[in-house]
Symmetry: C2
């Protein structure tokens, strides 16, 4: 037994606060110290990884209690999170109808509509009167039939096909003897069960609803996705994109929780790949070693010039990746984006060129640095290179996400470091090519 430093009385807020830094043992002990009603809410509020870890550390009796507090979709997520060998045992802890529902959900990939949905929705028949419908639903509630969300009622035909939807508000407001078929909405937005969760999130944003029905290929209703699950999806997708964009594999675990070695593996792969690509800069510069030896002053501006390409490229790729994630920009828009970024690259390049030109001329004029007899030509070479490098960076940064998506990869992999690396190598070639034209016969 390890000695515990936890206080005897614990509130859910205190436990949540300390959660990230507690050991597995302390977590279990802390959880057991909670008042029963607090423990229920605390358990429901945990992330699915934490839920799985916690439940596997409890006794079988406790496991049954807490697993049964979960809705079928959440239970399915938890079981999916548990190691393969523990899954059957966890599934067996559920009561029979829930077990069947959870087993059906486990057949879906986690990140499609079918994996997000809850199969417990309120269903009606089109031929019922409104009075009958209300009485039917109230009876179900009284008989403890669980619904994921008692907000919409879905109208199904004999083949379980979705034919209409009705909010509770509308049901209440309609005359009691009206038929459900006459008051329901027939133009239902439904989600195919295989739809990717990002696309589902976009549907929610477009239609501003709090739940959407999920149907199979024959239009049979399988469950509902509720908007609170979509918040998690949106956060999770944004985190993945953000981490990929930062130049690494998505962590898939909270930063302070992931094991050190796992984290290093996630980061070292991309970092090494970038490093190997960046080695091309040494090769590229090697080809201009003669020029550098003749005019060392040229080397001074290399980091300035190549980083400008990387910075402008990272702006462009950020904009395009995020616009794609939000559905504002699609593959077929590539040409419109390219034209836009062509203009942006020229404008931004011109601004930086002007600053760079002034910098060299002024430093020379005020004697801060001595760039030699040909400082004006040097300034011109730097400025011209900047236009070229920024233009290239902007175009490369904006087009790379399209290219990645076209070949089926995640556009967010067009990361700031990747774009910067691309721009470094080409930046060196552009710079020395421009310099050798502008400075031929003078510095070179």
């Amino acid at each position: 037994m390890t000695e515990t430093t936890l206080p005897r009385e614990l509130s859910a807020a205190e436990l949540a606060d300390a959660w990230w830094i507690l050991s597995q043992d302390d977590r279990v002990q802390g959880f057991r110290l909670l008042a029963p009603d607090e423990a229920g809410e605390f358990f429901a509020g945990l992330g699915v990884k934490d839920q799985a870890e916690l439940i596997l550390a409890l006794t079988p009796g406790e496991r049954r209690v807490w697993l049964r507090t979960l809705a079928p979709d959440d239970a399915a997520d938890l079981i999916q999170e548990a190691p393969e060998e523990a899954r059957a045992e966890l599934l067996a802890l559920l009561d029979e109808p829930t077990r069947r529902e959870v087993a059906a959900l486990l057949a879906y990939a986690e990140d499609v509509a079918g994996g997000l949905m809850d199969p417990r929705f309120a269903r009606l028949r089109a031929g019922m009167t409104v009075d009958e419908a209300i009485a039917y639903l109230r009876r179900q509630v009284r008989e403890h039939v669980e619904f994921a969300l008692l907000y919409y009622a879905y109208v199904l035909d004999d083949a379980q096909r979705l034919v209409g939807v009705l909010s509770f508000r509308e049901l209440f407001a309609a005359p009691g003897d009206a038929r459900v078929a006459d008051v329901m909405h027939r133009d239902v937005v439904a989600v195919p069960e295989g739809m990717d969760q990002e696309a589902v999130a976009r549907l929610f944003a477009e239609h501003d609803v709090i739940a959407l029905p999920v149907v199979d290929e024959e239009g049979r209703m399988k469950g509902i996705v509720t908007v609170d699950d979509i918040v998690d999806v949106v956060e999770q997708e944004a985190t993945e994109d953000f981490q990929k964009y930062g130049g690494m594999a998505a962590l898939e675990e909270p930063y302070l929780r992931i094991g050190f070695r796992r984290m290093i593996r996630k980061r070292a792969g991309w970092l090494s790949a970038l490093f190997l690509s960046e080695m091309l800069t040494a090769s590229a510069m090697g080809r201009f070693e003669g020029e550098i030896a003749r005019a060392v002053v040229l080397a001074l501006f290399i980091p300035l010039i190549i980083s400008s390409g990387g910075n402008s490229g990272s702006q462009a790729s950020t904009l395009v990746i995020r616009a794609m994630a939000l559905g504002e920009v699609r593959l077929r828009d590539w040409w419109r984006v390219a034209r836009r970024e062509l203009g942006a690259g020229l404008a931004l390049g011109a601004i930086l060129a002007a600053i760079g030109f002034l910098r060299i001329v002024l430093w020379q004029a005020f004697g801060v640095t001595d760039y030699g007899a040909h400082s004006l030509l040097l300034a011109a070479a730097v400025a011209a290179s900047l236009v070229g490098v920024v233009l290239w960076g902007t175009l490369a940064g904006s087009m790379l996400p399209f290219l990645l998506r076209r070949v089926g990869l995640d556009p967010a992999s067009a990361s700031a470091p990747l774009v910067a690396t691309l721009c470094d190598v080409t930046g060196i070639v552009i710079y020395f090519t421009v310099a050798s034209v502008v400075l031929r016969g003078t510095l070179l």
Copy 2:
């Protein structure tokens, strides 16, 4: 009159599809071509900026119709979006009770709970019986009292203070003669009206609810925030963070919609600032001009070394920024993060150092490049510099977000380009310092 290229019959989906590329005139015409029920849904689905632009381009009669279809919180958002001089006129188009509600909402900042909430919620008294409560709510629905969301009923005391909450499901399931006070939950999670929208989003994620009540300082209930608004908040905050992280001011408008000059202004500011900072690299290198002249081969590895600092720093800052946005890491965790990143920086630096060392030794051995007589010492200098630069990049990238938050700035401003720029200058100093120690008496 401009000639229109729009077809006579138009579906909402077609209009939505073409929306981004239509002129203002074409949008108005397209909107008028929609069937009335489709137009309503289309209008509700537009972003608030588009809603404002569209409504201002319509006739006063049309304006009244469409403005009145909006919930008070959405109407307030739209009016906030309109130019100052148009606001009073728009407000006047609303009916009297809604106008008062909207005016109250306009007093809140857009990005706090008060600015997100809808004041139309279902309210009950604790002393009612369940039967009375249901009859009361049904009567309100029949009398066309609007509710933002008919899912929870909130129990208020005489001073309008929130004392309990009850879902409709619970109301239905309770015996008809029970008192509301006996079946309601008293431990209500309530949002202070001034709470920042990011914090509100975190509360939703923690508690997995579809609505939360908003209260003022005295605990008086002012409205509810619904989870569908939170999806928008989460997406909007992620977009802002992402764009800041890409090294620019947040666009605040869809990429394909924002005017070219506005976009250039948003991008040029940061780009110029980064460029000016990056000029320090030229100054830093200027101090080592002698070393470069003596050993041009040293210059070849500059981009490789400094970019490694930038890349590892961008990974670290990404991780910390995102973890902060999700509430996983707080200010007081800085020391734990620093220790973690110290280890990560050393590990990653060692990996890159090994690759870099091998590259130089192998290229020399197989005659790909000739680095001269001291290639082994050169390789050692590059490897040692890489450890230092990657360690520095990792620490700088992980601590900068803490520093920014500490002084009240957005941690997402610790952008990939900013971190890269920081690392470029220090990278050069580290590299040449290490090189001058290792290579003294041989190359230098």
